[in-house]
């Protein structure tokens, strides 16, 4: 499988403060790679290293097979970049600004700018500094997507967008992926990454603490379980459930003619289902895994406690 972006022991210091402590990752060509992490984790720093806006202190970066430091304008023309904080202050219209970036990084297929503007609901003939935050963000997305680059690097792409436009953005990401473009995006909101990404890297304090597929993340996440069963004593039910691998915090909610228990499940559900099959269930609730919860635990370094 071809690798579109990779980093090996990528380290970046600003003065005495080390922002990235030697991170490693690889992004398959044609996939969507999401980075999540709390503010200040190093997400933006990583992206800026890919674009040669800042230079790594140590380690190696490869973008579309090249060192960004040496790839020059030719490499950056193959990348679409949306900065995390987008400032567009000039007294120019969106259309003129896009024409400028097209002149620098084009060519852009004819009609593409208008098509994207329409999809995102962006007026191109207004002065950029008069645009709202959301509309500036749309303009930022447009300049990143318009020339259909091989790689899209998007820093907090949906920040400031309303839910409808966010959906449109997700559709744009899917189309880009379908066309074979690689997308490297980051967010501090998990749901965003979860919706679009194939693979998620979790970054905290300049370390990558996990790289997983979204399905893998879901498997590792904790689900809330609630069962009601008849014909079994409460303590027998507790013992039975507690014996299942991955089940913890079993609590009796009600015990009478039937027993209601709640528990947490981490890991695969198959062993639990097998045990439940032996019970006379009257009710079963197996919730969607709470990825947010799982990731928050990783952020704060408490992952081990769930085991």
């Amino acid at each position: 499988m071809a690798i579109a972006v990779s980093a090996r022991s990528l380290t970046k210091s600003f003065g005495r403060r080390e922002a990235l402590h030697g991170i490693d990752f690889a992004v398959e060509a044609g996939s969507v790679f999401g980075v999540i992490g709390p503010n200040g984790a190093g997400k933006t720093t990583t992206m800026r290293c890919l674009l040669d806006i800042i230079r790594p202190t140590a380690g190696e970066v490869r973008v579309l097979g090249l060192d960004p430091r040496k790839g020059g304008p030719e490499l950056r023309r193959r990348i679409g970049y949306l900065p995390g904080e987008l400032f567009l202050e000039g007294r120019v219209t969106g259309r003129r600004l896009l024409a400028h970036y097209e002149a620098v990084s084009g060519p852009v297929p004819p009609g593409r700018i208008d098509e994207l503007a329409e999809r995102l609901g962006l007026e191109l003939d207004r002065h950029t500094r008069k645009l709202s935050k959301g509309n500036k963000q749309k303009l930022g997305l447009l300049q990143a997507f318009m020339h259909q680059p091989e790689l899209l690097v998007l820093d907090e792409p949906t920040s400031g967008l309303d839910p409808l436009v966010q959906q449109e953005f997700h559709a744009m990401v899917r189309e880009a992926r379908h066309r074979g473009q690689t997308i490297f995006l980051n967010s501090h909101v998990l749901s965003e990454v979860q919706q679009t990404a194939d693979t998620v890297a979790i970054l905290r304090d300049g370390h990558i603490i996990a790289v997983e597929s979204v399905s893998g993340l879901r498997e590792g996440a904790v689900r809330h379980v609630r069962i009601t069963a008849a014909g079994i004593a409460a303590h027998d039910a507790v013992a039975l459930l507690s014996g299942v691998p991955g089940v913890g915090q079993v609590e009796v909610l009600e015990s009478g003619a039937s027993v209601t228990l709640s528990a947490l499940l981490e890991g695969p559900i198959q062993p639990l289902v097998r045990i439940l099959g032996s019970l006379q269930l009257t009710d079963l609730v197996l919730e969607e895994p709470d990825l947010e919860d799982a990731v928050l635990k990783m952020y704060t370094g408490q992952r081990g406690e769930a085991h």
Binding site: F14, R48, L51, D52, I53, I54, R55, G72, P73, E74, R76, R77, I79, Y81, P83, E85, L86, F87, L88, E89, G90, R91, V92, R96, H100, Y101, E102, A103, V104, S105, G106, P107, V108, G140, Q143
Partner: protein, 266 residues
């Protein structure tokens, strides 16, 4: 679609309002000062008044020259109000070109596109140069127009030479601002560097002309290199013009090298 010098075009054409405003200011100053010459500079009354002023003051303001048309133009327009306006415009543009653009966060996006950093600095310096030339050219044309009606009696060749050093002096402050901004990534340091060149140059000239002991200050004053021999009256010192333009070019190269070597927006 491939256009030549895209960054220059954006830096030059998308700021036409600012260029126009400074041009209007310079034109206003020219029309305000020069037509007054027959009634002020040339009059005997004025002559007596200037003789009554302390010698240090007339030297500091270059008013020792204003009894003649070329001297009056040199002292009031090229040496004072025009110098002030041109320097402020040039410093503002120079500081905004890289430092201001980086500070506002816009440079990051530009550099993420298909450009080289050296190219960014050079094309924006070219836009600065051209805008300074537009303003200086305007002053040249207006002074030529007023030369007859205002009885200034300026030799066209001297006016040309004077305009060249006038532009060179403003450009030096502007490129110092550009360089300060490119090295630091901050508009304020660029403004500081550019203003320092302009203000210190002026002050060193004013103080250096007061006494023999302070004369060494004149060698440090770009203002004095440019105007020490009153070029509008006596023709430009072309070696000085070479220094002004040469150092400006060197500052642009330094800015390009500095930006090429450092992190942006960090």
């Amino acid at each position: 679609m491939k256009t030549t010098l895209p960054l220059f075009r954006r830096a030059f054409f998308d700021t036409w309002r600012s260029t126009l405003a400074w041009a209007a200011g310079l034109a206003g100053a020219t029309f305000l000062y020069l037509p007054l010459y027959p009634s002020i500079g040339g009059s005997a009354q004025m002559h007596d008044m200037i003789n009554a002023l302390p010698a240090q003051m007339t030297k500091a303001l270059n008013y020792d020259q204003i009894a003649t048309g070329p001297g009056y133009t040199q002292a009031t327009l090229f040496g004072l109000i025009g110098f002030l306006l041109m320097t402020i415009a040039s410093v503002a543009w120079g500081a905004a070109a890289v430092g201001g653009d980086e500070e506002s966060g816009q440079l990051e996006l530009t550099l993420a596109h298909g450009v080289r950093r050296v190219q960014v600095v050079l094309e924006r310096a070219l836009a600065l140069l051209l805008r300074v030339l537009v303003l200086a050219g305007l002053v040249f044309v207006l002074v030529s127009l007023l030369n007859g009606p205002s009885q200034l009696g300026i030799e066209p060749g001297n006016l040309f030479g004077g305009t060249v050093v006038f532009a060179g002096l403003a450009l030096l402050s502007g490129t110092a601002a550009l360089c300060g901004g490119a090295v630091s990534g901050r508009r304020i340091y660029g403004t500081f560097a550019g203003a320092a060149v302009g203000v210190l140059g002026y002050v060193f000239n004013a103080v250096g002309r007061q006494s023999k002991d302070a004369e060494w200050l004149l060698d440090l004053s770009p203002y004095h290199w440019a105007y020490g021999n009153a070029p509008v009256a006596n023709g430009a010192d072309w070696a000085a013009a070479g220094w002004l333009w040469g150092i400006s070019a060197a500052l642009v190269v330094l800015a390009a090298v500095a930006l090429e070597r450092r992190d942006v927006g960090a």
